[in-house]
Symmetry: C2
Subunit: 385 residues, 2 copies
């Protein structure tokens, strides 16, 4: 039998954040493709579209009118998945296998920029810059993360995210993201928080040979993600590191599922949320966020679709809510889940085996990281001019 | 505060098979859609395509040639995600956060029918019938479920599934499914088996008011899914039942995630796998499988994309493999995960909030079930002739 080589042989990798596995089949990218083709970049969009319900000054579907904004702009989602009204009582469950509970929350839309035809990736390259155009987005996220729970005391969790591109279900190309707030901590962040808690409470993880120089959290405990970020930055050749600056690093996680999945996180100190970031850290975050999106676009020279979002402390410090005690274990991070696999038009489908068996990927995290690392940090659209 | 009404108010439902939640937003289907459009049915395909690597007699990408088959046809996947070769040793893990293990298995392709332009849904309507054209597929599945572990003693799990339609990553429209076998039980079925085990070992679930007349399993224990099937069939108005015959029932599970998700399962007795089914049960399975697929196609009058697959005992009785002891808790069932939401061209995207927060759906299971139940059982393409 040949010795196990993870760059050539099928294998499973373990995801410590979710305590689950991904099947990795590094040899599988050669198979022929006669399946679906994504659209790729369409014709150049106008900077203002009078039919767009997100452009400045336009009317929205339910009658509201947008401000003539020139930075970011927030409004409450006209078709919110959650509503702030309280309803009375749980459903009297008629059987232990039929259980439901009411869910309460508020959903907002955040326009990133007045121009209809820009993306975070493009906001990195002149005449735009992360400082002028992405930092305001980070500031808006921070403001909303603080204000939504304050104004809605029933809120226990704030989820900030962006769906980009029609391949990721985005219903409007105008640069925007969403903020959903809820009266409970949803499955995915709750699972991560519980695993981060278990890691921190296991004293073995504070041993020097596990920490390898990573800082501890405020309570002097090992932090799963802070340890992980350090480990990646100190692995010879940094095979999964894609980009870094003075405070943040972007890696293709060892356990990545989507072909070019990345995670962006602070590596200098334990930071539980946007609330805890200094001005300098907020700028560094804006810069690395933009660089990460720009590198993705440059892989195939197309506007790379993705879902992206923040996991952090469920709600600001001191806010009383469900699972608030898990908050100290949170280490701020951003997940990028981009679906393209081989080209601007061929994506990875997580279907069949992935839905019924377990997640499967076709190239290794290390192969993907090398590809992203080799990309330019000047946006391809700016270069062709 | 209004009294909680699950058909109108946002709520979470609990999935006992996976012990996780889905957020249900029944009021949300009205929002406007300017996003991606799926292709819908293209032009009518030919019955034989000389470029198709699945049609009888044709050559495949890696050089093999298909039999001149006239029923079903099996071959080993030329681009298998798993390989049968053993490799030596685990990766010497350099850190507790970096863990991988080699994975071994074999992957097969099963052509359902020689004609390039048919689907399981169409095989239900004259000149075809479930007996003549779907029963052979069930027989092939049963044969492969029995033979793959026997011929490959290292196999611990057999996953039978079908990806249908380009929206579900299917790379060739010729009617076919796949069988992946592995040397471990993957995440999803393992989670289900563990939850079925916990349910069976909890004596409270065998109490008459929980069982409500459902049969026990072979060891005299309550079965999660058998109890659930009975509960649905005995709920006044059977709001989630879509179709049934003498042995099987199709329901939109209370905790369904995909808009028109269904589950097909035996309700008369505990059946752990295809191995345990009588001839009569196999025919009933073929019939309800076809009817379920046909009803889906008739919802929007289009070939409804889906991923579909079997969960059952990991490997046949007596086969020694990983987690074999969980096998007795398995109750055979088929999951259908179809993505369309509003029309032949507008699907549900499980993105953004669904990836970063938790799964979310836009109509209730009961609304979806009513819609599927109202559909005809004659295929729309046969009617228009
Ligand atoms: O094997 P196929 O049909 O080429 O590929 C399809 O099914 C596989 C198994 O569900 C998935 O991993 C692929 O992403 C999908 O495109
Ligand atoms: O809110 P939008 O942009 O209309 O809708 C998009 O994002 C939502 C949140 O991730 C998803 O639930 C929808 O399926 C998706 O199409």
């Amino acid at each position: 039998a040949a010795p196990f080589d993870p760059s050539a042989h099928p294998h499973r990798r373990w995801n410590p954040l979710t305590n689950s596995h991904v099947l990795c089949s590094p040899h599988r990218t050669q198979r022929p493709w006669q399946g679906a083709q994504e659209k790729g970049d369409g014709p150049q969009l106008p900077a203002f579209d009078d039919k767009c319900y997100l452009c400045p000054g336009n009317e929205r579907a339910t009658g509201g009118r947008n401000d003539q904004y020139d930075g970011t702009f927030v409004f409450e989602n006209d078709y919110a998945a959650l509503k702030p009204e309280a309803v009375e009582g749980d459903e009297a469950s008629s059987h232990p296998l039929l259980r439901s509970t009411p869910a309460r929350g508020r959903c907002y839309v955040l326009c990133f920029h007045p121009k209809h035809n820009l993306t975070i990736a493009q906001l990195t390259t002149a005449p735009y810059s992360a400082r002028s155009s992405i930092l305001p987005i980070v500031h808006a996220w921070r403001r909303l993360y603080l204000s939504i729970p304050q104004e809605n005391p029933f809120v226990s969790y704030v989820q900030i995210f962006e769906n980009k591109g029609s391949a990721m279900g985005c219903s409007n190309p105008h640069p925007h993201g969403q903020i959903w707030s809820l009266d409970y901590v949803p499955e995915e962040p709750r699972t991560e928080l519980l695993n981060m808690q278990a890691y921190a409470l296991d004293a073995r993880n504070a041993a020097p040979d596990v920490l390898r120089g990573a800082p501890l959290d405020e309570q002097g405990r090992a932090s799963l993600l802070l340890t992980y970020a350090h480990l990646e930055l100190n692995t010879p050749g940094t095979p999964r590191v894609v980009a870094q600056n003075a405070h943040f690093v972007t890696v293709v996680p060892y356990w990545a599922l989507w072909p070019f999945e990345t995670m962006l996180l602070p590596y200098k100190r334990h930071i539980s949320s946007l609330e805890d970031m200094t001005d300098e850290e907020q700028l560094a975050l804006a810069e690395l966020l933009g660089e990460t999106a720009c590198r993705l676009d440059n892989i195939f020279g197309c506007s790379f679709p993705y879902s992206m979002g923040i996991h952090q402390r469920p709600a600001p410090r001191g806010h009383k809510g469900a699972d608030a005690e898990l908050g100290d274990f949170a280490h701020f991070h951003i997940h990028f889940y981009p679906p393209l696999l081989r080209s601007a038009t061929v994506r990875k489908f997580l279907v069949g085996f992935e839905m019924l068996g377990e997640p499967q990927r076709d190239l290794t995290a290390e192969q993907a990281a090398a590809r992203i690392r080799d990309c330019d940090t000047t946006h391809y659209l700016a270069k062709s001019n």
